[in-house]
Symmetry: C2
Subunit: 383 residues, 2 copies
């Protein structure tokens, strides 16, 4: 697909909440805290071309370009760059590691300035709204008043919705993708399985594994394996693997990975533990579980968007059973109920929830089209 | 629902494979081995009124009546008894614990006669066909030539299909419920997550936990939690729990079971480990993964049923996403391709895969009707 060259991002780290701490939903005042972020492209003179990309549960700020630690390209590299839908010749892209994350932003893995040791479970439990508040402080620091667009898939979509609700005047357009305005019972259940897999690992040490020189890699791998199934679809698993055997002609009558799908899942589990912190997994899944945007607005989601001027593009995927289209429809209904400017695109694909991470033409063209149209409304020059 | 009294089953245990061992699919000769079973009702003089019930992954032979260990009624108590669809005034019901199980039949938990110690991972890996062969030996022992019906849900349905394919002349009718002729990639993946959760538990001790005085209860509980989600449906979870909190008015900003659905899942996990053996979970899930009935017949499922005289009733449930209706349709297509006598019922319900364990009128009446009709064809007297 990509004949354009990969863009190199610029990294930054900023200490925030130094003068006034950040009041979190749990009641704790957090400060100082660190936000690690990446930028791509150039901020224009009017500071009006900013796209804030919000990452998903296990994503990070390395949206494009080579990932400094993982030795591969950023998770949306096909989406971000010169001539791509998030065109770095036109827009200035920012992505920050979420609060509670494990890629440089303050979270359970980082050192608690008060003790000099990793926070572990002493890190306060955060919410999607807290993540967004921290991002707003980052924008204040960067002297950016309004976002041209806030965009993200899955948990990134939750942040996009929260941005539009909490800071409507700062959001010209918003693109929540493969997401929901509240986490469903089934999704809470899957998260709880993952958390219990981590907590069941003796190497978790009550959350204090760093101080014991251990890491709950087995539990975290099981959590990832269970979650990974939910990111795909039955059709995609059947198409990719079916009942094909792994490097063998007959089954072994044992508990090795006889089937390719087993081998694939094990690989997903074992590589994940090299790049992710188990406690961060607990914190971020919890933030998603707690997400229920309507709750802040007397239970009526439309109230979250009253008198909004933001232009919305809601995107879902037909085979996504983790955040099914119905959940996007409920967002669209609420936006309609607030007479908001909203377009809704359901994209036909068998690739499940992970479709938002895939370079599929119908999806990339949807984003290219919406962003281009919104840019015209915003009066952004073509280049 | 039930105004009739509960029936008390009669238990039996028989040692089989004493003269000639059972040749398993894996090539091992197993013998002697034990089959534990229950019967309900009375065998008629013609020995023609036998219904073999095949249980699912975590089920057992205690289909009806009070369970001797679990202090509750058998898993299909509403289905089996005087006047019930599996009418014990009319039929003689047999259910045997599957080979590899943990309720008295030979399996990894039982003592290996060769060593005097629990088999553990020395128990041979078994298949659905092996389970059925062992049941056939039990019927030989009981001097029962032909089954009036073989019936079961989920893995029980796999056994019903295998029975009809392997011993067509011994099966007058067959009722595979909420099942498939081969285990899908997604289902293998979910099983692999469960197995890895068990294997990741240090108390599993390489499968040798009994000899170490331990039991991998944490891993087994996680396996059960993950599996349990797949037995329900998103709609049922939303209807039953939604985002309701457990014994609290506000979230705790922590990792306790804030949500009812979390508390429910944890309960499912923690009660399961009291009644099930972790190694048996490995063996039985493996048997399901290996199930691919068409494979024995040159890949054409219809060949498994060539010239069959068995009357089939295939049942699926609309909200079952573990064994979706499409899998039942493929069975029906194959049976049609063999010009078999088959009826197909898809039952509308939001209760997911577990619907086959629930006392829902449309389901019980379906079984009552089919069995009654088949009994007429078989010439069984009304009482």
């Amino acid at each position: 697909m990509s004949q354009v060259s990969e863009i190199i991002g610029e990294g930054g780290k900023v200490e925030l909440g130094t003068k006034t701490p950040l009041r979190l939903d749990c009641g704790v005042d957090l400060g100082p805290f660190t936000i690690a972020y990446q930028t791509y492209g150039r901020l224009n003179a009017e500071r009006s071309n900013v796209i804030l990309v919000c990452h998903a549960l296990t994503g990070d700020q390395h949206v494009a370009g080579p990932h400094p630690e993982q030795g591969k390209l950023g998770w949306w590299h096909f989406m971000v760059g010169p001539g791509r839908p998030l065109d770095t010749d036109r827009y200035f892209i920012i992505c920050a590691n979420v609060l509670g994350g494990c890629m440089g932003t303050s979270g359970p893995k980082e050192i608690d300035p008060a003790t000099g040791k990793p926070y572990g479970l002493h890190f306060p439990v955060i919410t999607i709204a807290d993540m967004v508040r921290a991002q707003a402080l980052l924008l204040d620091h960067l002297n950016i008043e309004q976002l041209f667009c806030v965009i993200g898939g899955s948990m990134g979509g939750m942040q996009a919705l929260q941005w539009a609700a909490s800071f409507p005047e700062r959001v010209f357009s918003a693109v929540p993708i493969a997401t929901a305005a509240r986490h469903s019972a089934q999704n809470i259940a899957f998260h709880e399985v993952g958390r219990q897999a981590i907590i069941a690992d003796p190497d978790w040490c009550g959350g204090d594994y760093f101080n014991h020189g251990k890491r709950p890699t087995r539990g975290l791998a099981v959590a990832r394996m269970a979650a990974h199934i939910t990111y795909l679809s039955e059709a995609a698993l059947t198409r990719k693997f079916g009942r094909a055997l792994q490097d063998r002609k007959v089954v072994t009558y044992g508990f090795d990975a006889d089937f390719q799908v087993e081998s694939y899942l094990r690989h997903q589990g074992s590589t994940f533990v090299d790049r992710f912190d188990a406690n961060a997994y607990l914190y971020i899944t919890r933030a998603m579980d707690y997400f229920d945007l309507a709750e802040e607005y007397d239970g009526a989601l439309a109230n979250a968007f009253r008198e909004t001027k933001t232009r919305f593009c809601v995107v879902s995927f037909t085979s996504d059973w983790l955040f099914p289209t119905q959940e996007s429809r409920e967002i669209v209904h609420a936006l309609n109920g607030a007479a908001a400017n909203v377009s809704f695109v359901e994209i036909e694909t068998d690739t499940g929830h992970d479709a938002f991470l895939l370079d599929e033409a119908k999806f990339t063209e949807t984003l290219r089209g919406f962003l281009g149209g919104a840019a015209e409304h915003r009066g952004l020059p073509l280049r």
